[in-house]
Amino acid sequence: MANLQEKIAKLSPAATFEIDGTGILQATVPAKEWHDLAKALRDDKETPMDYLVTIVGADWVESLGCIYYLMSTTDRSMCSVKVVAEGDRETPYIDSVSDLWHIAEIYEREVYDFFGIIFINNKDMRRLFLNIDWVGYPLRKDYDEDPAINPISIENERQSDNTTVYTKEDGKIVKKERAIFHHDDFVVNIGPQHPATHGVLRFRTAVDGETIKKIDVYMGYIHRGVEKLCESLQYPQTLHFLDRLDYFSGQVYHHGLCLLYEKALNIEVSRRAQVIRVMMDELSRIASHCLFMGTYCMDLGATTMLFYTLRVREQILDIFEKTCGARMTFNYACIGGVMQDIAPDFAADVKALLEVLPANIKEYNKIFTGNVIAKNRMEGVGVLSREDAISYDVTGPAGRASGWACDMRKLFPYSIYGELDFEQCVRPEGDSMARFKIHIDEIEQSAKILAQLVDNIPEGEYCVKVPKVVKLPKGQWFQLVEGCRGACGFYVESDGSTKPVRLKIAPPCLPLAGVVEHITTGNKIADLITIGGSLDYIVPDMDR
């Protein structure tokens, strides 16, 4: 970390440094030096900061700005860079880093959408989630929530075929319009209501015959402003939104945010609670991967497979239901442990599941993975290289299928993952088939973890005593966990009160949708379904 500090200090002499609550180095650099610093950090010979974990927009009342979380994939070193925007509150601006990290284009759009910070040279400076005629920037502290300003529209959705680009010429910001599609493109609107978009996601697809020329991803149809809502809720209340993001990783997301709060509050969680949480995480991973395989096969036209995978998933949901009382929105992990103790026959049920899993996996491979049509449809389709996976932030199974070892359980072992014996599954091919197969591999690994824990659930309390009113000390924290679809980051900034000043959720699915255009262009329409399905994005997770 000292090295990193020296390096940044050398590149940007004006930088100031501090360590945040999680032990991550934070450098504050002037906006003018940011782009050069970013370029130097990314192009560093030994430990290039090639992974832009997330961009957290923030409003510190006297100024607006962003915190960039960067990670090096070579030595896992992590740092954050705080950049205060130039300009006044009307038009704050920062240089875009979308030329360095592809994913920054979408992340910067999100910051623009919520905070109104303009990113100079970003090729697509539109709102990401909100309507194009939305008034105000909702995550700013002085945002006017009066419904009269932004009434609920009962008319058709307004949309524009143009996007905006801001450039800087002679120290002045110049706004330019740019058309998204060529004027004679045949644009097919896939979504928001479409069987294969896995939720209300919309692709405006320019096609030439059956070949895709360009895709414009449109999201925000189920944007609920979770981050905004959290700012007016107490810490324990914020947890409940997490079941409604990636609704298959509810357990994992709860776990992640609890870890972060517990770190901030210095709470030691009992071993029993930790084991239960990890088991729940892995159970939901299996259930989620099963559903992925089923729906993916259904996207490809093999409907029968869905029922074979749902069979296992139902069994897991039954286990959840016995313990949490719910099959989807579990609300299980809480600050200090878990909500209730496990059901008496939890261990027996898990054992029964572990018994049927191998036979089921064998069956999946028999009916689908080995099928010649499936192979033709998936092999070599939508190849994502390792470099692009990193640049587009494609984590989770999709990233690992591109050869990027990005399992947060291994990179930053949280909870008890450090003691467990399991492999990180990585495949080098990067095509849809690899993305499919890696899910099967991960089910096997999750089963391995469960097998280690099921007989070793220690006795003890399932939830430690926590103050009735949770107040986080002043400061900021960042936590990464491995959700079912990839790395999920949580950022919390506290001013010492009972409510967060800023809670940012960096979901894995937003980058997954962001990479769709890159790997589908030039393929067939049917491949859009193959590739989109294999990336396995969940729309509520990207929209939040």
């Binding site: 479409h194 069987p195 059956e210 049509i373 033709n376 049917a526 379904i529």
Partner: protein, 366 residues
Amino acid sequence: MENVQYPHIFDFSRITGPIHDWLMGFLPAWLTTTVECVAVGVGLLLVYALLALFYIYFERKVCAAFQCRVGPNRVGPWGLLQSFADMFKILIKELIQLNHIDKFLFALAPYLVIIASMMCFAVLPWGDGLQIIDFNIGIFFLIACSSIGVLGILLAGWSSNNKFTLIGALRSGAQMVSYELSIGLCVVTMVCLAGSMSVTDIVMAQADTWFIIKGHVAALIAFVIYMIAGTAETNRGPFDLPEAESELTAGYHTEYSGIHFGFFYLAEYLNLFIVSGVATLLFFGGWMPLHIPGWDGFNTVMDYIPTPIWFIGKAILLSYIIIWFKWTFPRLRIDQLLSLEWKYLLPINLFNLALMVCIITFHWTL
């Protein structure tokens, strides 16, 4: 045609003949034909509807079995009345009027599709003496009629003024034109063996052994290709690209509602029956019972089973295979679909035709 070889097969012309004579006794010839046509038409419609309902039920039950489910089991015993309920539901549904479409073509399309499949029924070998028209180019007529269906699909896709339907229709056009080639060549291969295009002659030529055995290798290859091409021709999975639910929502019939949608739906199932029926005719003897040369007792017992049961039974068994395809395989992509036809099936088929000619010329038939 008098059936000398197998006298125990019940010849349905023993029933139809006297009726015809009776009508001719007091009606002029043109009126007799008209009356007969109407009667046959009504009968055909009834068979058509019943078969479609049966097929819907059958497919749902079969696919439920594949998917570890029960399938329809609430309406009537074993859910038998489910498809009747579905039919009445679809009959009373509203036909939604769309703006910005070509109204005439839009309304015409489903009728074209259903008429095409109905016309094919005319030449199917339902039973001994139960054929509606028996003329010397029967099988050729059937192929010609089934080609009209694609016209309906193209029209449906075009007139809906919707990009999804248009892509679906164009896919369908490419697919049907390609696979009709394979079907045609398979038929030609088998016609060579039969030495006739008349449906009755083809059936009678299989009186001692079915063509699938008589033509052995060549017939087997032709059968496999025919089943693949036939599945493609009926737009069923894994070749259901024109509908491709997950890609094009419902393909060419996205915009249809009520009974117009019902027509496409019915036609799909009836085409399934026709494809299996033709396969039965070409490879498994049509209505001809199973005969094993030399086993006279066995043959006689087989002959007592009415011929329509043989035909429909065989056709349903073959449909079962096609349904099995659908619920097992994922869907192909359009370029893979076309390369399968033009790069593999077509050359194999041409080679197979030559092989069949050799088999016939050198009397290698079994």
